[in-house]
């Protein structure tokens, strides 16, 4: 670059007078940093204007400095001056330092009252929410436990009611049979005399109706069934097979007998036998007739 031409172009004069455009300003500052001769010319022009300004010197009113000292903010130096500069520093007097104290200590910004109160309020609210949540949770747990217990009790009561109702129906049926005129109660006793009163036959001599009430017969294997027999004129007559059912309800037998000497129960193969297996006779009971 031809620096001589650039210097003679007059742009440096415009620069020191402040009439250049921002772009030209950057250009001059950039080039003066690169070319010492441009920098030198610029400094000489600046110095000339400085000298012109110095020739205009006029002592300002004394109160302006005092006002400025009031208005401006001063601070202590952040870093110490380099030691090399120390010999040059010969302050004759040290002006009183303007101590600037922050309203609150800077290092303890977290202890400012507003900050502390805000923090405490936030923490308190958080704690309350936590406690309330735990309270609600425990309430819910209690409710669920109570509900489970109540359901269990309810189920138990329903079951008991059902059993009771079933027993009542059974008892009513038994009572109704017993109330009928001509009904005989025949207790069937075990043949081996070990346990008494295993079953009861309610036999109505007027209608021939036979009702069987099982008390405590042992449930037989699946391949076998109990069979009721009526002993008529010394001969056993089939009175029907039956199963042992839960609850021991009274069973009305399909066959009717207007005459019978005794009733007996034998254990037969499933479906019944035409003739009783006497060795398998479980219970027997005589009629009053």
């Amino acid at each position: 670059m031809n620096t001589k031409e650039y210097i003679e172009s007059g742009i440096l004069e415009e620069y020191v007078l402040g009439t250049v455009s921002p772009q030209e300003k950057r250009e001059v500052e950039c080039l003066s940093g690169i070319y010492p001769e441009i920098r030198q010319e610029l400094d000489q022009l600046s110095a000339a204007l400085e000298q012109y300004a110095l020739s205009l010197r006029h002592e300002p009113p004394a109160d302006i400095k005092a006002r400025l000292l009031n208005e401006l903010e001063f601070g202590k130096p952040q870093t110490e001056l380099p030691p090399a500069a120390a010999p040059l520093t010969t302050p004759t007097e040290t002006p009183p330092e303007t101590v600037v104290r922050p309203l609150y200590p800077e290092e303890d910004v977290h202890s400012r009252p507003t900050f502390r109160i805000t923090w405490m309020v936030a923490a308190s609210i958080g704690l309350l929410v936590l406690v309330f949540t735990y309270y609600l949770y425990s309430q819910l747990q209690n409710s669920q436990q109570s509900l489970t217990a109540l359901r269990a009790t309810n189920d138990q009561l329903s079951e008991e009611l059902r059993i009771t109702q079933a027993r009542q129906i059974q008892a009513e049926q038994t009572l109704a049979v017993l109330k009928e005129p001509g009904t005989q109660i025949i207790r069937l006793n075990p043949t081996d005399s070990t346990t008494a009163n295993l079953a009861t036959v309610y036999w109505n001599t007027h209608t021939g109706q036979v009702n069987l009430d099982i008390d405590s017969l042992v449930r037989p294997p699946e391949t076998q069934q109990y069979q009721l027999w009526a002993i008529v004129d010394g001969q056993p007559v089939d009175a029907g097979v039956f199963d042992i059912r839960e609850g021991g309800a009274m069973v009305e037998q399909p066959k009717r007998f207007l005459k019978a000497d005794a009733f007996a129960i034998t254990l037969e193969r499933r479906g019944g036998s035409p003739t009783p297996t006497l060795s398998a006779m479980v219970v027997v009971g005589n009629t009053n007739s």
Binding site: E13, L54, S55, H58, P60, Q78
Partner: protein, 182 residues
């Protein structure tokens, strides 16, 4: 007042100013305020306004001193530009309701006054080299530097071609440089 009057170098002063040392402010103010005030007075031509402008200028200097870079220019020149621009702004605000022609007339009338009434007590000790300057050349420097006119405005005011104005500005500064040459 010479630069050598400073108790330490300009670099150290700038560093201390950038660290906002009150002592450095005292030195800066004592050293430069008379020259800045003189320039401001020359621009605004009113003591009351000049006081305000000087105060505003130092507030701006104090606010902007951290961004001052000695690589980009001399400190005094930087200070002068702040004071000069603040003064020109104040002048424009004051005459904002008036036409530029009227403004120039005011400048002219006071210019004549100042040329006959010179120098002040403070400038007596300096050789009045400025007065050795060619009056035409001095006029363009004053208009551009102290009144903030663009070259086009100067050309319009002096009824000269723009090229002539530019040439005259350059030769005026070159002459000034020779006058105060070191």
């Amino acid at each position: 007042m010479k630069r050598s009057n400073l108790p330490f170098s300009e670099d150290i002063l700038v560093k201390k100013l950038q660290e906002r040392e009150e002592q450095a402010f005292h030195l800066l103010y004592d050293q430069y305020s008379p020259a800045l005030y003189g320039v401001i007075l020359k621009v605004v031509r009113d003591e009351e306004t000049a006081r305000d402008v000087l105060q505003d200028s130092f507030v701006k200097i104090w606010r902007n001193i951290p961004s001052y870079d000695s690589q980009k220019g001399r400190l005094f020149t930087w200070l002068l530009n702040i004071a000069r621009n603040t003064a020109i702004d104040a002048l424009r605000t004051r005459h904002s309701g008036q036409s530029i022609q009227r403004d120039i007339d005011i400048v002219d009338s006071v210019d004549l006054h100042q040329q006959t009434y010179q120098p002040s007590v403070e400038t007596l000790d300096l050789p009045d080299k400025v007065n050795q300057l060619n009056p035409d050349r001095r006029q363009v420097i004053d208009l551009v530097y102290f009144s903030g006119y663009t070259h086009e405005e100067v050309a319009q005011k002096l009824n000269l071609p723009l090229g002539t104005v530019k040439t005259r500005v350059r030769s005026a500064l070159q002459e000034l440089k020779k006058l105060f040459g070191t």
